[in-house]
Amino acid sequence: MDHEKVVLDEDDMRRTLVRIAHEIVERNDEPDRLAIVGIHRRGAILARRIHALLIDLLEREVPIGDLDISFYRDDVGRRAEQPTIHASHVDFELDGRTIVLVDDVLFTGRTVRSAIEALFSYGRPAKVQLAVLADRGHRELPIRPDYVGKNLPTSRSERVNVHVEELDQVDEVRITELSEVTA
């Protein structure tokens, strides 16, 4: 029996990202100070898409970067598997900017905490906003997203998988029952 459910398909994902890009423009009245930073891996890919939409909307260049937060996690030595690490690229001046952090799924908030710490090792942004494609709840830290593609009330026994064309050959968000995953 299939316990996997597609909650966002390709069209939904495209529309959702367009809406997030519009919300970013509406909420930031100083577009010159805006920059986008994606969290590896899928957050960085979504950030690139939002970035392209923002350039169209604003008709100007917006700096973009990506972060690998592995070295900022607080669970080094607790994980069974060592992470695959990607280089971070933040090649612009952060000081005084509004940074929109982009990730695929917001869950406990620990990844975002690590990302904020990573970001501050590059400079001191004026504001940090958070955009996520899916918010599945179960926060363990006081972190709240500014832009949410879709709220997905889930149980802990479920997994939210974001698939992107660039890595998975398909754009969609699926919820899987964890017992099926580990079986």
């Binding site: 030595g77 690490i85 971070s88």
Partner: protein, 310 residues
């Protein structure tokens, strides 16, 4: 990986993972704040029984860039001079509860022994004439950065192989990464039976032109207790890598420190083919990757052991 005592223990995938991670650490060195909190709260003990400049400083810098606390211990001026054994020193320092011990000794096999006396992760920073695994890893990393990979490369290791722990580690690491290794030097400085490691032996540099990479070794006066070559001048005449012998497309490596005018002529040290400075720079990022590798896998309960180490 709990310890890194030898290249022998590494699979090709381990070497690739460490080098890939080192490449991502390179970006940290370019930042204004050259630090990540990956090993915050961990303690690294640098235990050096032999003089060292680049290895020790790069391990210290690597640990600090990962936000670990570092304690440096030199045998000179310590209880070792009062006759304390290696095991007792390890047990004593173990009471400080280090998470990792980076150890250099003049005794082959010491790092492996130490790994049995302490619950800390042990990293071999050179044990006698045996091995120097982090040097081999940084050399592989340097070649990957420069040439993209080692598959099919023809690497000549030239000089004092007999006294060199670097040579032993590098032969294994280069071969695991797909390179062919040739050893060249005077017969007195090529250990008997080393071809069992799978490398070719040459006693002249006549065919040096075949090499893609020339890895010159230092003439180690301090380890030479007998007359292995008639004189350094004669050695230089036969085996020195100089402008006449080094082709324009060959990459030149050396673990340092260089005896200018002996194993290398000054002109080749300063030539664009030489990647000696890149090797030193790779030292920090590769050692960051190694410390991260061994410390990221130590279970929490093993990090704060009680009582006498196992």
């Amino acid at each position: 990986m709990k310890h890194l005592v030898s290249v022998e223990q590494l699979e090709r995938a381990d070497i690739e993972r460490i080098c890939d991670r080192a490449a991502s650490f390179a970006e940290v060195a370019d930042r204004e704040i050259k630090k990540v909190p990956a090993l915050r709260g961990r303690t690294v003990l640098n235990l050096f029984y032999e003089a060292s400049t680049r290895t020790r400083s790069s391990f210290e810098l690597a640990a600090k860039r990962l936000s670990a606390d570092v304690v440096n211990f030199s045998a000179s001026g310590s209880s070792v001079e009062k006759g304390e054994s290696l095991k007792d020193t390890i047990l004593t320092l173990g009471a400080h509860k280090p998470d990792a011990i980076v150890i250099r000794t003049p005794w082959a096999g010491a790092a492996e022994l130490v790994s049995g006396w302490t619950p800390a992760a042990v990293v071999n920073a050179g044990d006698g004439k045996h091995e120097h695994p982090t040097q081999a890893l940084l050399d592989v990393h340097t070649l990957r950065q420069r040439l993209g990979g080692l598959d099919g490369l023809n690497i000549w290791i030239v000089g004092d192989v007999l006294h060199s722990r670097v040579a032993r580690s590098n032969i294994m690491a280069f071969q695991k990464m797909g390179a062919r290794v040739t050893l060249a030097g005077p017969p007195t400085l090529i250990p008997r039976g080393i071809e069992a490691l799978g490398c070719e032996i040459r006693y002249t540099l006549d065919d040096l032109g075949q090499a893609d990479v020339v890895y010159a070794l230092r003439m180690q006066h301090e380890r030479m207790t007998e007359s292995w070559v008639p004189s350094l001048r004669e050695y230089a005449a036969w085996y020195q890598i100089n402008g006449r012998r080094l082709g324009a497309k060959q990459v030149l490596m050396h673990p340092g420190p260089v005896n200018r005018g002996v194993e290398l002529s000054a002109e080749v040290v300063d030539s664009p083919q030489a990647v000696i400075t890149a090797q030193v720079a790779a030292g920090v990022v590769v050692r960051m990757a190694v410390l991260y590798e061994v410390l990221a896998h130590v279970p929490t309960e093993a990090r704060t052991p009680e009582g006498v180490p196992a």
